[in-house]
Structure formats: structure tokens, C-alpha cells
Symmetry: C2
Subunit: 269 residues, 2 copies
Amino acid sequence: MKLSVVLSTQSAQFQAATFKGDLETNLARIASLGYQGVELAIRDPKLVNYDELERITKAHNLSVPAIGTGQAWGEEGLSFTDPDPAVRQAAIERIKSHIPGAARFGAIIIIGLIRGIVKPGVGQAQAETWLCEALQECSRAAQADGVRLALEPINRYETTLVNSTAQGRDLIEKVGAENFGLLLDTFHMNIEEPQIEDSIASCAERIFHFHVADSNRWYPGAGHLDFSSILAELSSTGYQGWISGEFLPLPDAETAAQKSIEYLMEILH
Amino acid sequence: MKLSVVLSTQSAQFQAATFKGDLETNLARIASLGYQGVELAIRDPKLVNYDELERITKAHNLSVPAIGTGQAWGEEGLSFTDPDPAVRQAAIERIKSHIPGAARFGAIIIIGLIRGIVKPGVGQAQAETWLCEALQECSRAAQADGVRLALEPINRYETTLVNSTAQGRDLIEKVGAENFGLLLDTFHMNIEEPQIEDSIASCAERIFHFHVADSNRWYPGAGHLDFSSILAELSSTGYQGWISGEFLPLPDAETAAQKSIEYLMEILH
């Protein structure tokens, strides 16, 4: 299993030339720590120069295993479950617009908070139907380019749409697309899953991507999760994907990224 | 260690005769499950007939180890850290008004969300100062009647004021009152504490009350917390208080209360 790390949005507002300098610096740091990949948050692909992105990541020997899409929710309010059909359609088009870039890097497209948070006046069942339909449309579009989508179950405090792996598996059934699966995140699992290892086993080949953070959302090793057991279980599912660190930049981003890779390498080797 | 359970607010809106029937029924159920105590949420003591409350609890041989006060926040918006000084003072007066009832039952007064959630325009440091001053005033008032106050560290998603036991210990230092301590809750600790047992040890004799819920906020045994280890650590601090079940009423309140006491009795005996 290869190790990547998420660039926190503070340092990776990856939308324009303004942050190119930061991106170069950050990628150099990440590569020097020993990571083989970097997971990037991209709000809008049309603001990204993919040639330039490919040049920089290649220069540092970094893969891009996954692309986060949540900034389109956080900064523009796009969502699969907004009561306004125009907003829902814009969210679908935005995700589709990630397909060429994802295909180029062999990256998974992450469906995080762009699924939305159920708004007042929208019934839970209605939101779930919209979510399913949006995922079907996006998965179909991505299939042609061999791109996969991974929805992240997120704990109850951040959304009411798909908190647990059990709900994620139900959604996979409903969406019915081979290229739609799950992104599991240990911080969220610590809150939502009765037994983390059992939940990993239950998703097996539908685990498309994997986030690590400890129980307190600090880097792995800073909390009480048993990563030896968790990663052994993940490995036993036949998972061939990435282990991507997404944690709070505490005490600072670089220290956290360094502590995480040291700790994980110890476990994995 | 004795076992109590929190009456969920849905069934325990304990403010008027309207719910007296429910209260009788619920207390009978709780006692029949083997609990020795019941933790009650009281929004406003002046709406409570304490003679009647004493009669009912005694009839069922139930102690009242602690009184929850959060409804005054949830339903009236009272808080120690509101920018409006009149609201802050009303919150202080409300907590003081619990003292006679708490003294009568030997109950601890819980400081949960009545501490408030920092509102826009209020600085974190200012809120912390208001919180400390309010706790000093309330602790002083309670001291005369031998009543203790226990503040509950609550996870980051519910408030920014005192999430962890470390922050709780800092606050104890600042408040400087012998009758002010902490209420530790295993659900919140699972998210906030690097190592739950270490955090319990670090609070030792300042643990005034203890809530149990499993990692997913279901009854103990439904998640992945190691209650054998947690309760052994609690016991080793010399804790003589109650273990009070506060968990989601799932699959329903009675089943949850029953599963919890069965599981905990197995561990404790």
C-alpha cells in the first residue's frame, strides 16, 4: 500500500497561479518526507492548468491518487441534494468536469460534502433519491474514461447523508455502477462504526480509497486507534489502493505529515 | 460504583404535571431494570414540585445522582457566554436556583451546554473569562449547601468551550473551587482524548460524575470502546460516584437501558 497525504485547503487552494508557488513548495516538502502521492482538492477543473500540474507532480515523482471536490460545496454551495434543480445540475456537471483530469492522473474522484447536507424543507428520502440519481449519472459518465468515484461516509455531525459504511453499502446497491465505491476514513469510522475492522471487511473490494487520521483527527499515532489492526484488516481485503493521510495540520502541517509517515511505515514494513 | 441512567429529554420533559404520568412510568421501568439511580434533566427548578419528585423516586428506591441543566440552553438560550449580560446573569441565576433541589437529593449539578457556544463577535478568550467567572459565582453559592458542580467536556462538534479533559483541568485551576469538577463522558472522550484511560487518570479526584455511551453513542457494548479497561481505570482513581448511562434511545430507550445495565454488570462484577 502506497502512502499519500492531503494538502490542507489552507495551503492548497489549487485554483489559480496565485498558489502555484505554494504548490511547488508543498509538493517538494511532501516528496522529501517520503510520500509517493498527493491528494489534491480542486474546486473547479476549468481553473486548473493540468499540463502544469502534471509537470510539477512528475518533477517530484508524486502520483495523484485522488481528487477532493468538496470546495465546490464549501465555497460555492453546489450540492447533489439542493432543493434547487439548477444547483443540483451544476453539482453534477462540476463532478463530470473532473473526469478528464482524473483520467489523466489515474485519480479517483472523491464525493465528500458535495453530496450536500439535507436542507430544511427537503425530506431525507427525497435527498437520498437525488443523491442516488446524481451518482448514477456521474458514474455513467466516468465509466467511459475508466474513472472511479468514491463516496466518503462522514460522521453524523457533518451530514445526515451516508454516515456509516452500512449506509454506503446500501447506496452502492442502489447506484448499481461498477465504478462507484467508498472512501473510508478512520476518523469518521471511529465515531460511526460499531467495529472498525468488521466494517472494513464488509466493504472489501468496494473500498476505492482510504483516509487515515487518528481518533482525535490528529496524525496517526496521536490518538487511540489501533492502526496495526486496521491496516492489517484493510490489507486482508486485497486492497491495492492508497493510504492517504487527511488530518489536522497540528502542531503544524509538516510535523503532522512527517509523524504520520514515520508511524505508518513502522506498521507497514 | 452504582449505576444510573439519564431519562432522555423526549420522555423526561420534567417541567410540569403533564409529564408526571410519564415520569412515574419511566422511573418504574428504570428501577425494574436494576438501576439504583436516575439522572434527570430539569429546565427550570421553579416548575418542579420537589416533594412530589422525592416521593416518586423514593417509591422506586431511586437516587438522583445528578441533575442535567442543558434544557435551559436548548429551549431558552440561557448561557454563561452570551454577549448579552442579562442572558449571562439569567444563566447564573438559573444554575443557582438548582442548588436547593440538588442539596435535597445529594445530586451534582451538571454544567453541559449551558456554558454556551461562542457566538459570532465574541472572542474565545472573552468567552472563557465569562465562563470562569460564572462558574466561580455558582460554585461559591453551591458550597454553602455542600453541592458540587461538574462541567462536562463535550466534543468539538457541539461547542468550542472545553472539549477535552486537559481543557477541563485548566478550567478547574482557574475556577479554584473545591466543589467544582468534571463530568467525563466516554462518547466525547472517544473523539477528544488521545488515550481515554490516561485522561481518566489525569483527572483523578476531580471526576465528580461519569457518563457512559459507546463510541457510536449507542448503549455500552454496541460500539468499540473497551469498557473493562475504562472502568478499571476509573475505579483505580478511587472514584466513588455513579456510572450514568447517557446514550441514544436506540433501538428504543428501554432496550438500550436494559442492554447497558446487563453489559456493565457483567464487567463490574
